[in-house]
Symmetry: D2
Subunit: 144 residues, 4 copies
Amino acid sequence: MTPDDIAHARVKESFDRQGMLRHLGVELLQAKVGMVELRLPYSDLVTQQQGGYHGGAMGTLADVAAGYAGLTVAPAGSEVATVEYKINFLAAFQGGHLHATGQAVRAGKRIIVTTAMVTHRSPEGQVRDCAIMQQTLACVAKTY
Amino acid sequence: MTPDDIAHARVKESFDRQGMLRHLGVELLQAKVGMVELRLPYSDLVTQQQGGYHGGAMGTLADVAAGYAGLTVAPAGSEVATVEYKINFLAAFQGGHLHATGQAVRAGKRIIVTTAMVTHRSPEGQVRDCAIMQQTLACVAKTY
Amino acid sequence: MTPDDIAHARVKESFDRQGMLRHLGVELLQAKVGMVELRLPYSDLVTQQQGGYHGGAMGTLADVAAGYAGLTVAPAGSEVATVEYKINFLAAFQGGHLHATGQAVRAGKRIIVTTAMVTHRSPEGQVRDCAIMQQTLACVAKTY
Amino acid sequence: MTPDDIAHARVKESFDRQGMLRHLGVELLQAKVGMVELRLPYSDLVTQQQGGYHGGAMGTLADVAAGYAGLTVAPAGSEVATVEYKINFLAAFQGGHLHATGQAVRAGKRIIVTTAMVTHRSPEGQVRDCAIMQQTLACVAKTY
């Protein structure tokens, strides 16, 4: 297996165990060393009071994309836990789907720093910035 | 109506329109001027890969509690939009329910700053800190 | 020595080594277990382009107050390093002095979470909120 | 004047009024539409208790670089005020100088979102990541 294959396998194993993500309809598009891409289609499960994507859905998607990007660079045998994140919401969207790209910025033995960019993709293929996140992860022992 | 009654009515009207919150099982406990309390029971809808509450669920709960606290102090006729938030996760929990208290720290005409504290309540009634958030809201025209 | 005496001694030893703080005129008012108070008088050293306190000065004061609050609850023999912080600026002020209170929210063995509130104190004694911060610290080996 | 010339003039006019920056030794390297670069040489004015750059100095540099990047895309006649920022410290450094690049991510009429990357440059020319920031600005009336 290449390093990118190993990265994908680590992310996939964790992703398949996530009740909330499966429930919301999040899909894993890509996972390689230092970078993960996710997709979330529009549905009634992820909307707020005005019919747009809920901030909680955007936050969850960004948190997970960045967290998994961190997982791909974490020491072998360890998992990552989100210490904190900060997210800015740039614009509100309805329909289409959300696309999140998580990237590792710095991989320490104990602390990993990541970022995520969430874009909206309309059914016609238009891409617009939706949210931007900066995140801190801690490396922890894998318990499953 | 007292100011607290008005605050509650503003929050309730918005809360009832939120698809994602209803779906996850979030309940509105209290809303008064400058403070809102929410509750989220444990279920398969809000878990991550190790069976604990998902960060996305804690983030959503905190975001909404603080956002509604902001709404109670926003100028009449306006709504609030989340500009950004930053959340620290303090510990992982399973079972019981999550309780979030949002509070307004500063209410400007255009920008409102809030905080939220999320605690875990076990079935036996034990209360422990779960997450802490700091948030920025913008006052926007109400469109519904 | 009481626990608060030990807390004060730990903070004082570090504080006296800080070139930038001494330079800006920061004073240590109080340090006890889980809480530290600092003071920064107004001067040309801490202003921005409109004559108000510079965000960098408020950020530094909050960072240090919260960091030292964390130090007072860190394991014996360890120091703390700031992993990250997030600060909201609530209002602009001139003259008088700034007062910062740092508090430990959660003390783990590896990660400590803190908050700080910065207020402005006018020469007449009026107290107004100036900035609020949320911070993550890592416990590291003491090297001096 | 080209748009980049105008951007530079806006930044320069504000920069020259900043007491704290002049005092710490911050230099303006470049300012064009959407991007600003600053430089801060190592000195006793910007150190912490272990002789490294103080977090407050890194935070100030990042805050200003990103804030000025925002100023270059703010509506004509307006200034920007920092609503909040969040900064992760990636590594500690001594000597050489710090280099900060601020970039505008989204320019609204009322809210501007920016990022900054701070790197350390050693006397031998080695470049290493030092800090990363995400910031929210509000557009405000220019008062000088």
